[in-house]
């Protein structure tokens, strides 16, 4: 997907003024957060579970190569073909090649953020293949020609009226704004494709080294059909998704749906191991697993390595006050919110996404919510350090930090500057003690006054034995 993250500030500004988006975001607000809070509270040893799962993810990452090779060996033994792709282009080429060689005309897809990342649909469509997104949210967005704005609830930015408009045009049926009726309409529209597609493409929430298994976690049942009905099943997933054992999965699945939507478990979990077995009446004849790097291995051994633990639950964005105000599209690439503010610069380059690590107050809600204890604010700060060291921030900002650093490390100078700063600012504040405009600080004063300083510094008053 094309990167627009360098325009974060402008895009965020547009989103703040988008009344429809703001109203749609308000409707969703709180549902995820309250649901998660309730599920976590009734679980009991939640902190122990978080620690356990963070540790098991770290254990794999510390031996990622060996786990991947063990996965490959077991998956191959069960009849799957494992492909490796270093880049988005390579991954797309592999999938397109499988499709073309097998005469595939229609592909059904279940939700896969990796496929969004590598823009797989565009590539397949260019090869003349029809691609049908089957997750309801993704289906809506395919009709709207939009990328997802949330990694779990891709169409969270759309209202039912907007969905109704899209369906009316696509399905040639009377317009309907009843949500259950819209859901049924999508089910009916997609049924034939589910049953007749030549190839199913899914992502994988995890892949299991022990058994060579790939798996999907869904509520809708779409992934379960995509991985079962077509004669070819292709999994596109990131190299960091590997875990050790079925037991590790059992622990992680206690975290994932609770963190994502406050459910104890999703309605469906499909663990897929290899191809159709002798005598089976369902299941694919060919199974392909494409392991995608596309920047992931760069994180191994780096400051950002904890990001590889991410299980894509979306809790960080659900709890992020910045995300909740600007929505996912402002972030300009596939992954929004705090996890996106780390992943996007890491994958597409810090110079292309410079505002993202700065789009945080470090309020810390994401770090508390993250089920695998990724220290997201710390990782964003690491990226800010890289920006500082590589002089990637605007000139004015760098100059301000330099001048501030010079002053605060020299107490005499600092006392002098703050004495006069307090006086001048107090004078500017006037009788109402409010500063309406300050040069260099219009980011603040555009929407807020600056309450003026009292006039004398604490330091001076204290020295005089005052007050």
């Amino acid at each position: 997907m094309q990167v627009q993250s360098m325009h974060f500030k402008r895009r965020a500004s547009e989103k703040l003024d988008d009344a429809l988006l703001q109203s749609n975001m308000k409707k969703a607000k709180g549902k995820f957060v309250d649901g998660r809070a309730k599920a976590v509270a009734e679980f009991g040893p939640w902190e122990e579970l978080r620690s356990h799962c963070a540790a098991l993810r770290d254990r794999v990452i510390a031996n990622l190569d060996a786990y991947l090779v063990e996965f490959e060996r077991n998956a191959t033994r069960r009849g799957a073909v494992v492909h490796w792709a270093e880049t988005a282009e390579e991954a797309c080429a592999i999938v397109a090649d499988i499709a073309t060689k097998n005469g595939v005309r229609t592909v059904t897809k279940s939700k896969s953020m990796v496929s969004e990342e590598i823009a797989l649909n565009d590539r397949l469509e260019a090869a003349g293949i029809r691609v049908v997104e089957t997750d309801l949210g993704e289906y809506i967005l395919q009709l709207a020609h939009e990328p997802p704005s949330h990694i779990v609830a891709p169409a969270v930015h759309k209202s039912k009226e907007q969905v109704a408009d899209l369906f009316q045009e696509a399905h040639d049926r009377p317009r309907n704004t009843d949500i259950p009726a819209l859901t049924r309409e999508a089910r009916e529209a997609l049924r034939d494709d589910f049953l007749n597609a030549d190839m199913g493409i899914s992502g994988a929430n995890f892949i299991i080294a022990e058994t060579g298994t790939t798996l999907t976690v869904t509520n809708e049942g779409n992934a379960d059909m995509v991985t079962t009905v077509p004669r070819i099943h292709c999994v596109v997933t990131g190299v960091e998704k590997v875990i050790g054992t079925l037991e590790d999965f059992a622990s992680l699945i206690r975290l994932l749906p609770r963190s994502a939507i406050g459910q104890t478990i999703t309605n469906y979990l499909t663990l897929t191991t290899g191809t159709k077995m002798p005598g089976d009446v369902d299941g694919p004849e060919q199974m392909h697993i494409v392991l995608v790097d596309a920047g992931r291995t760069k994180l191994v051994g780096s400051d950002l390595e904890p990001m590889l633990r991410c299980i894509r639950c979306g809790a960080c964005m659900n709890h992020c006050p910045v995300y909740q105000n600007v929505g996912g599209h402002a972030y300009g690439w596939v992954y929004p919110g705090p996890m996106g503010s780390v992943l996007t610069p890491a994958y597409v380059g810090l110079e292309n996404a410079g505002d993202l690590p700065n789009a945080a107050t470090f309020c810390g809600e994401c770090a508390v919510a993250c089920p695998v204890k990724i220290p997201l604010p710390d990782l964003m700060r690491k990226l800010r350090e890289q920006q500082f060291d590589r002089r990637l921030r605007p000139w004015g900002e760098r100059a301000a930090i330099s001048m501030w650093s010079f002053a605060v490390t020299r107490p005499g100078l600092y006392a002098f500057l703050s004495r006069w700063g307090a006086r001048v600012a107090s004078w500017i504040g006037g009788r109402e003690k409010l500063i309406h405009k300050l040069p260099g600080l219009d980011g603040w004063t555009k929407g807020r006054d600056m309450p003026a300083p009292a006039g004398r510094t604490f330091r001076d008053l204290y020295r005089e034995g005052g007050r």
Binding site: A28, G44, L64, T183, G221, L269
Partner: protein, 218 residues
């Protein structure tokens, strides 16, 4: 093989190891780690005093309805009662294992074949069921196709009480003991399909079944 080699080499270099392939020793260490099967913490309700009660409580929470019968012979009557209560026709497509039950007396037409997109109700058994989450575990096999649980709008699932386990870990242990490796599809069903993709409003019945009815055989 270029991509594979480069990816593995990059990981190894970042972790201070040479070469593009893990050594036999490293693979052995991973296998030893896997064999340890470190268990994670469980919530208190994962070890319930009354396993069946816990299972049914979770079924309720997931909108799975349930009935209980004393033996498999009682299944057809319960299916008939259930279908009638939902206003559904007395036709079922199901796994061959249940074809021998007396469906005719209960007024039900039973087709022992994999379900297709046009069937209304599918009947399956399950390998075992999990009390912690109200989940049925289905393992695919020639006589136990997954599609029957997925394509029809109604899924009726027979759970033998003796096959009820506490947790997913227990289910995996049972699978290893009785089946060995996971079959092609290891399918966990916890209630009817749902979505909240439009305005975060939960709708029961997305692409999978609208109704899941569990029949517990004591």
């Amino acid at each position: 093989m270029g991509a594979r080699e480069n990816i593995l080499r990059r990981i190894r270099a970042a972790q201070g190891r040479a070469g593009a392939e893990p050594t036999e020793g490293e693979i052995a260490a991973v296998r030893a780690d896997i064999a340890r099967r470190v268990a994670g913490p469980l919530p208190p309700f994962a070890r319930p005093a009354d396993r069946l009660a816990q299972f049914l409580k979770e079924c309720d929470r997931l909108s799975t309805t349930h009935g209980q019968v004393a033996s498999e012979r009682g299944v057809p009557a319960e299916v008939s009662r259930y279908l009638a209560s939902q206003g559904l026709p007395p036709q079922v497509v199901g796994w061959p294992a249940y074809a021998g039950l007396d469906w005719a007396s209960a007024g039900i037409t039973y087709d022992a074949r994999p379900a297709t997109g046009s069937d209304h109700a599918g009947l399956t058994g399950c390998f075992c069921a999990i009390a912690e989450t109200g989940t049925a575990l289905l393992l695919s096999s020639p006589a136990e196709p997954k599609v029957t649980a997925l394509l029809p709008e109604t899924h009726v699932c027979i759970v033998r009480e003796a096959r009820l386990v506490d947790t997913m870990e227990d289910a995996f242990a049972l699978m290893r003991a009785e089946v060995g490796e996971p079959p092609r599809a290891t399918f966990f069903v916890s209630g009817p399909s749902r979505t909240a993709d439009i305005e975060q409003t939960i709708v029961i019945g997305a692409h999978g079944p609208y109704r899941v009815h569990v029949i517990v055989v004591s």
